[in-house]
């Protein structure tokens, strides 16, 4: 399209540059990209930002089963702050999010470095590690639910081998259940982080590493001081992707623990769903959704800002 249009233009208007600009097809050419993009811009303005705004408006109302416009100021936020379950959900998100991102990055980069040592069968190994990502969180959740069930899974198996005192019952322990979410999520996502890092490693110029070797740096030192700093953009994308997987985690909780025992593994997303849709408290649910959005922005904006600025300067 792009190549053919100007050719047509010149053949239809052989009178010179000035006349070319004023022809209808020339105007169309200038407007075409905007015209083509307009529907999707309008749709995302309406369905993303419009609905964000609507959610904010609803969070200021006393809406229960259906939206109503009886405004109560920030009353829903005050109720949310007084709600013990909300604090459990927020604390859980902090624990889960931090552990998930950090462990995924650690395991992912380690696997990538190990795979980068020009080993045999790298393709097969890479596929094995990457495969969990192909599963949906629901499948991961169900599989780990069985593995972690003390009467069916790992605990029962090890006890069956004769280690009667072996215990691994985190999923039924309200204090430890949140870490089972981390285990399952890390299992699923670290292979993906590995793939990101591997691609990054392959993109690094060999001569830098050779230069470091000439200077007498050891291999761990080369990776730590030379390679990893080069991978900063990869870390950036990995953190972005992992953080948003963590914050929107919903299906994993539903499949793995159902929010239990009690509501010990509730996350803000499941809290929001329960209140807005099953407990007829749309106002409170909207308030929690707005706080989630606020939390995301509070993390993302400074990070985006610092990363993009340093990239411009560098």
């Amino acid at each position: 399209m792009r190549d053919s249009l100007p050719m047509k233009n010149t053949s239809a208007t052989p009178l010179g540059a000035g006349a070319k600009r004023s022809t209808p097809s020339g105007g169309l050419q200038a407007w075409l990209p905007r015209l083509v993009l307009a529907p999707s811009v309008a749709i995302s303005l309406f369905f993303v930002y419009g609905f964000m705004l609507w959610t904010f408006v609803l969070s200021l109302t006393s809406s229960r089963m259906l939206p109503s416009y009886d405004f109560v100021g920030f009353g829903q936020y005050a109720r949310l702050m007084a709600n013990e379950r909300w604090w459990v959900a927020s604390t859980n998100l902090m624990i889960f999010g931090v552990l998930f991102v950090v462990i995924c990055l650690a395991i992912g980069s380690l696997l990538a470095i190990l795979l980068d040592q020009k080993i045999r069968q790298e393709g097969a190994l890479r596929t094995i590690y990457l495969y969990p990502m192909a599963l949906s969180f629901i499948v991961t959740g169900v599989v780990w639910k069985w593995l972690l069930n003390p009467q069916l899974g790992i605990q029962a198996m090890v006890q069956g081998w004769g280690f009667e005192s072996f215990r691994f019952d985190w999923i039924v322990d309200p204090d430890m259940a949140i870490y089972t979410l981390v285990i399952a999520a890390v299992w699923q996502a670290s292979g993906f982080v590995m793939a990101l890092f591997l691609a990054g490693l392959r993109g690094i110029d060999d001569s830098i590493i050779k230069a470091a070797q000439l200077d007498g740096a050891s291999l761990p030192r080369i990776y730590l001081r030379v390679v990893m700093p080069c991978l900063r953009p990869v870390v950036f994308s990995a953190v972005m992707i992992l953080a948003h997987i963590a914050i929107k985690s919903f299906d994993l909780v539903v499949a793995l623990t159902g929010g239990g025992p009690g509501y010990a593994t509730d996350l803000p997303a499941t809290f929001m769903y329960a209140h807005a849709f099953t407990r007829a408290q749309i106002g409170l649910g909207s308030a929690s959704a707005m706080l989630m959005l606020g939390g995301v922005l509070a993390i993302l904006i400074p990070y985006l800002y610092s990363e993009l600025r340093s990239r411009k300067h560098g």
Binding site: V72, Q151, I171, G258, G260, F277
Partner: protein
């Protein structure tokens, strides 16, 4: 380009379907009777409607607790296009009524004499502002204790009739090498056990005060603390694999003889029946310990939305009449494990558990003791129910929380749940 065409086609088709929904003398019924037996039972109603010349448009939304169906219903109602009838129950009927969306059924109620036919407690739930707006389909009893007779025999115990007997029997069953009480650690199941234990230990009057009227003195009082302590003791009768377990998996433990008892509503009977077992021989049923003079009910009902079209209104009235007619009541409740919503039916087709259920239903309706189930959304609004669930399930799963603290939280849950 081809995707665009497909989208246009899909939109056109969707438009066409929407256009046909509003056809006259037809009822569109939103429900979640989608499991095998239930779907067959709903089909009986469809055939009855069609035999009288009305159209039936099925609007089944799968998902056991009806959560998905409710979400669909809300979006339909908000867009100003509700179905003619929907499966709505308990205090939610009042919420829809307050929004002014429900139509009245007074015509058919007068003609059929619903005031005499239905027990007062049931009729109250079906009325909003003195007008009948919904029709009851069935009555489930929640306070049941199910048992495997072989396990009981092996442990040398009888069906318990008080909570103390339940704990004693539980210990004997544990010693015999079985799980005493099958349970699934989901909040609604925790609440189901809680309300049966509370009812068994403290009686139906206290139940009414605390879980229906939400009297703060009852919710935070001595009796509530006792009930909470009894409830926590039932945990000792359960196995550690329970978190997240579905109720029917717990029922299967009783069926397979892994566990002795289960406290669950009479929908559990469907599982026993599906396994080819006979009530009274292969499995036992009794009122939850200490609750033989009480009946916690969970009533499914169809609420009618306000319609402007006369033909559609006529079809609605016919639907309401047919729902309470013996043919449908019998067919539906045999499939569902529940009992008919009208107490005057011949029960010879039903099994011994259902017969006892109906006898208790009539007796408690007259003598008192017929109470709505909190755990199944019959007693309080969804937001308060949710807040109570949170307290109950958190207390049950937290080994360190004292009953006094849970009782205090119960009071604030009832207060703070809504504006």
């Amino acid at each position: 380009m081809s995707t665009l065409k497909k989208t246009t086609l899909a939109l056109a088709l969707a438009g066409a379907t929407l256009a046909t929904t509003a056809q006259a003398s037809e009822v569109e019924v939103l429900h979640w009777w989608t499991s095998g037996g239930e779907a067959r039972a709903a089909n009986v109603l469809k055939e009855l409607m069609e035999a009288e010349g009305y159209g039936w448009q099925d609007f089944a939304v799968a998902g056991g607790g009806g959560e998905t169906a409710m979400t669909v219903l809300k979006s339909r109602a908000m867009s100003g296009n509700p179905p003619s009838a929907a499966q709505i129950k308990g205090p939610e009927i009042q919420e829809w009524g307050e929004l002014g969306l429900l139509g009245d059924l007074n015509g058919v109620a007068d003609a059929e004499g619903w005031d005499e036919l239905l027990p007062e407690v049931v009729a109250d739930i079906m009325r909003h502002d003195g007008q009948y707006v919904a029709v009851p389909v069935n009555v489930h009893r929640v306070n049941w204790l199910w048992a495997n007779p072989e396990v009981l025999e092996a442990a040398g115990v009888e069906m318990p009739t008080t909570l103390d007997e339940l704990f004693e029997a539980g210990e004997a069953i544990r010693e015999a090498g079985f799980v005493p009480l099958a349970h699934g650690g989901q909040s609604w199941q925790d609440a189901t056990v809680f309300e049966s234990v509370l009812l068994g230990g403290q009686g139906s009057e206290f139940y009414q005060q605390a879980l229906v009227e939400l009297d703060p003195e009852a919710l935070g009082g001595e009796q509530m603390i006792d009930a909470l302590e009894d409830f926590k003791r039932t945990r000792e009768l359960m196995d550690e694999g329970m978190p997240g377990r579905d109720w029917n998996v717990a029922t299967a433990m009783v069926i397979e003889g892994v566990a002795g008892f289960q406290l669950m509503g009479d929908w559990a009977k469907g599982e026993f029946t599906a396994a080819g077992l006979t009530a009274g021989e292969d499995y036992l049923c009794a009122a939850a310990p200490g609750t033989e003079d009480a009946f916690t009910f969970n009533i499914d009902s169809l609420a009618m939305f306000r319609v402007t079209d006369d033909d559609e209104r006529e079809a609605q009235q016919a639907l309401a009449r047919l729902v309470l007619e013996p043919t449908f009541q019998e067919a539906f409740n045999l499939a569902k494990g529940s009992i008919p919503a009208r107490p005057d039916l011949d029960m010879s087709e039903f099994d011994s558990c259902a017969q006892q259920s109906l006898a208790d239903f009539q007796r408690t309706a007259e003598e008192g003791g017929l109470v709505p189930s909190m755990a199944h959304g019959m007693a309080v609004r969804a937001d308060i129910q949710g807040a109570i669930f949170d307290v109950v399930t958190n207390y049950f799963n937290d080994a360190d929380m004292p009953a006094e603290e849970a009782a205090e939280r119960m009071v604030s849950a009832a207060e703070a749940a809504s504006f």
